[in-house]
Symmetry: C2
Subunit: 590 residues, 2 copies
Amino acid sequence: MEKDNPNVYVVGASWQRLLYGAEDVGLFKEFNDGSMRGFTYANKHNFKEFQADGDGFLSMAECQYIIKHELDNLRAKDEAHVPGYPKMKLYPGKSVIRRMQSKGILVQVFPLHEKEELKRLSFSWFKKIKLSFQPLDDIRHYFGEGMALYFGFLEYFTLALIPMALIGIPYYLFDFEDYDKFTVFAGFNLVWCTVILELWKRLSASLAYGWGTLSRKKAFEEPRPGFHGVLGVNPVTGRAEPLYSNAKRQLRIYLVSVPFVLLCLYLSLYVMMIYFDMEGWALMIHDEEPTFWTGVLIFIPSIIYAVVIEIMNLIYRYAAEFLTGWENHRLESTFQNHLVLKVLVFNFFNCFASLFYIAFVMQDMVLLRQSLATLLITSQILNQIMEAFLPYWLQRRRNKKAHKRMIKTMGDRELPLSEQVKLEADMSTYLGTFDDYLELFLLFGYVSLFSCVYPLAAVLVVLNNVTEVYSDAFKMCKVFKRPFSEPAANIGVWQLAFEAMSVIAVATNCALIGMSPQVKSYFPESETQLILWVVGFEHFLLASKFILTFVIPDVPKDIQIKLSRLEFESLEALKKRKMLEASGIPKTDK
Amino acid sequence: MEKDNPNVYVVGASWQRLLYGAEDVGLFKEFNDGSMRGFTYANKHNFKEFQADGDGFLSMAECQYIIKHELDNLRAKDEAHVPGYPKMKLYPGKSVIRRMQSKGILVQVFPLHEKEELKRLSFSWFKKIKLSFQPLDDIRHYFGEGMALYFGFLEYFTLALIPMALIGIPYYLFDFEDYDKFTVFAGFNLVWCTVILELWKRLSASLAYGWGTLSRKKAFEEPRPGFHGVLGVNPVTGRAEPLYSNAKRQLRIYLVSVPFVLLCLYLSLYVMMIYFDMEGWALMIHDEEPTFWTGVLIFIPSIIYAVVIEIMNLIYRYAAEFLTGWENHRLESTFQNHLVLKVLVFNFFNCFASLFYIAFVMQDMVLLRQSLATLLITSQILNQIMEAFLPYWLQRRRNKKAHKRMIKTMGDRELPLSEQVKLEADMSTYLGTFDDYLELFLLFGYVSLFSCVYPLAAVLVVLNNVTEVYSDAFKMCKVFKRPFSEPAANIGVWQLAFEAMSVIAVATNCALIGMSPQVKSYFPESETQLILWVVGFEHFLLASKFILTFVIPDVPKDIQIKLSRLEFESLEALKKRKMLEASGIPKTDK
């Protein structure tokens, strides 16, 4: 199983070097007075938690980020080619590592797990079975801010669902057949999904401030590794760099990607229609001669449909990634935005189209409830299997022999570094939080859109999230290579996606309220009147929602004050320096 | 007519001092390479248009702003009281000028007009009667960026209305009685009001970039002059400063201001009902025995109502200002936002409630057309009178004698400075662009909401705007004291207000389309179907509108590149400086 090119380089740095790096990448750390300040080497002793020579001052994720940053910033100067590879050209000012990666000289770059730290983290995270908050600071210390924010959001979302689940259980138990009662629940839904997203923004700002990523300025973004084009001059940096015309990219997007997405949507619609045919067919058999088995049969189409949806989502996911790569975006961030947009639109349509159809075209609340329950449960089970257990099982099978042999020869002693590297190089690569957020997004959709007709949805999602925490934690620690840490100040484009979903939820819940017999009974004569009232109410709610978004500050007051103080001080410092510089000038004309 | 305290101080500064000030307030000027850079005195010769000793390098508005800034920043150090006024206490670190202003020692502070420049500006602006764009750069040079942006917006808005006016005229001439045809016009309206606002954002960014205000960082905001409270320590600056508890302010807002606004809205509703009674009464008389005079009588209620609306708006404006002042906001910007919000809500309701009532409750398109026309024309005439001619006439009467006497004694010679100061001190004070924007906002409302039923509205607004340009220009140059210039990068909260109006316009136009007989004929059987289609269409349009807002970049590409380049360069410079500073450290551990 040996690779063709077995050279392994383990890169590390001294504490001093790391501290200079920390200043270089602009890390913010806690100052003696409790505020967060940009770290400078000269000023290092004024930072809290800085002891002796700075050992332990930086988190492991920060060290990793600094080393990655420095490696990525090794730029070619006068070298014409990679030493030893005369055909691999190097361009002045371009990152050497990226060039070597894209040419296949460098096979893998990844940070190593730290056995001791990992053991400690695993223990406080998922090995002790007791009710407690997640160790976000420990997660951040080991995996970085992006990952910690994901787990923070997962936990917050779960906690936010608990009131809904608590209301849902009695609803489910006592009013299961009483469709009239869901109006109140829909109203609650409406308020809930607006409020929790606003509060999360504030909470995430607090977390990010404490971790020093809120005030950190983003560095200049380099082109992503896969980007290619004709060599030209970047108008911003003035450096030689491949350029790709924007018009060409737009053409690719509008002439290929958009039609492709539309085609996929059409396909999904087609599959949905097949599902409805199957559903009708099963129902017909059940109606003709109802037995226990035909009772089971009714659920079969929904389950098959749920599995098909998951498979389609998976295939589409790869297609979208390929297509977005082919669109040749210059920056990783725009690449991500286009990918998220593509995947979101399709997944939303694929998962919810049938539910919307049942709710508003067929207006069949019993089928809606049954379909929602089957979709939700099946997709949860599939997800847990696909996400954690399958990779774990695959990896176990692969490593079993190698591992056993090593344990035999080594006994209880620690694994030598070279063996650890080989072991970890074979682990699967974690592809980022994208899929995890996507799963939460769909769950949020099920709950906020339709939970009023199936109040147990919130309960199911809470249960799912609790196991999700454990399986996600498990997969991060045991299944995957340690991912590169990425400083993040918020959950980025996902905040927007969740907010868009909550707007759709307002419209959907209003429509469901309008369709309930309870509300209809207020307008016995005129359906037109009813619709006008519902539409008016919906417009009022949407307007309130937007006003609320404006009125509630995104950053809590105390953190706002700390940020302003920092800004004020830097302004004052600038003024002082200017005054000192200008003190040589004649002052007579003042 | 002499004041009690006739001391007059004329403050000026040398060019060198002004250049230091320009660096101090962080002005951006055009660099040799065509980009905009923060001005520094040391680097002054690398800026374009910097000649000799810098005479003429700064615009007059910039000089004025710098001097105002320096005056405001004269802070008390150890002085305990204003010299000569032992009872007027001074607090260390507080602005002396503001203290003296609020205590009435300083009666007026204002910049003087520059006769020569003003003559040149007036000529190119409104004295030569020919079709041309407004001299925005000259306006900016004399009055500053805030004023120039207002006139830029006024001009842009007028130009944007021209296609609408051109479509409106044939509509008016040929289809006046054919109410079916307004669907197309409403559809055009929908797209128009979204697109022009997006384009204005880009245009305003271009203008602001060229004037150097787009990249300029806002200075730390001082408390507004009227702000009072118990002396405490500002948590941001650490300076002693009056503090006022936020809870108290919120109480004042929600327990006094909000109920007051609601009461005013109720009052406005009451007046509206009286108007409808009068309208019905006039119509009754006309129907009984129609003569020419009863034909005129039909219009009387609308005219009276329009006048009453204007008067109510005016009174409310003062009440809102008083109330917002009483709420005791710390910053001028929050004060302005609260004032704008209060005034907008009331004015919107006051001006448009009757139209909405006629359109959607009475569903009387003939009355709507008549009412809209009367409201629009009457309010335009009133506005022009109130805004320019009345103050001008008052001032003329006041100054006639004084002026004549002076002309007699001086002949053709220039006015001595002391006389000019006295003359200008007696001129009315311009209260900022608030009322001007408000007027445009209401006009925008008339056009975007209801112009489909009265296509001539756009024509009337264009005519009004053309005279408005002249009367506004005239009042700025001849009627008012020269206002302090304020650097502005955009039209601020008004952009938001106009966008909110355009969202309301989408809903209104969709509803009007749904009510047209033309559309109704497509759904002969089911009114419910019709409403559902219209609502669906409206939601689709609103969604597209929001997506468009996201997709169209707010800043044109070329300016975006220039901004990024500046940012990149400053990052690089920072890195270089750090490297130089760090060059003393041992490099062995690299």
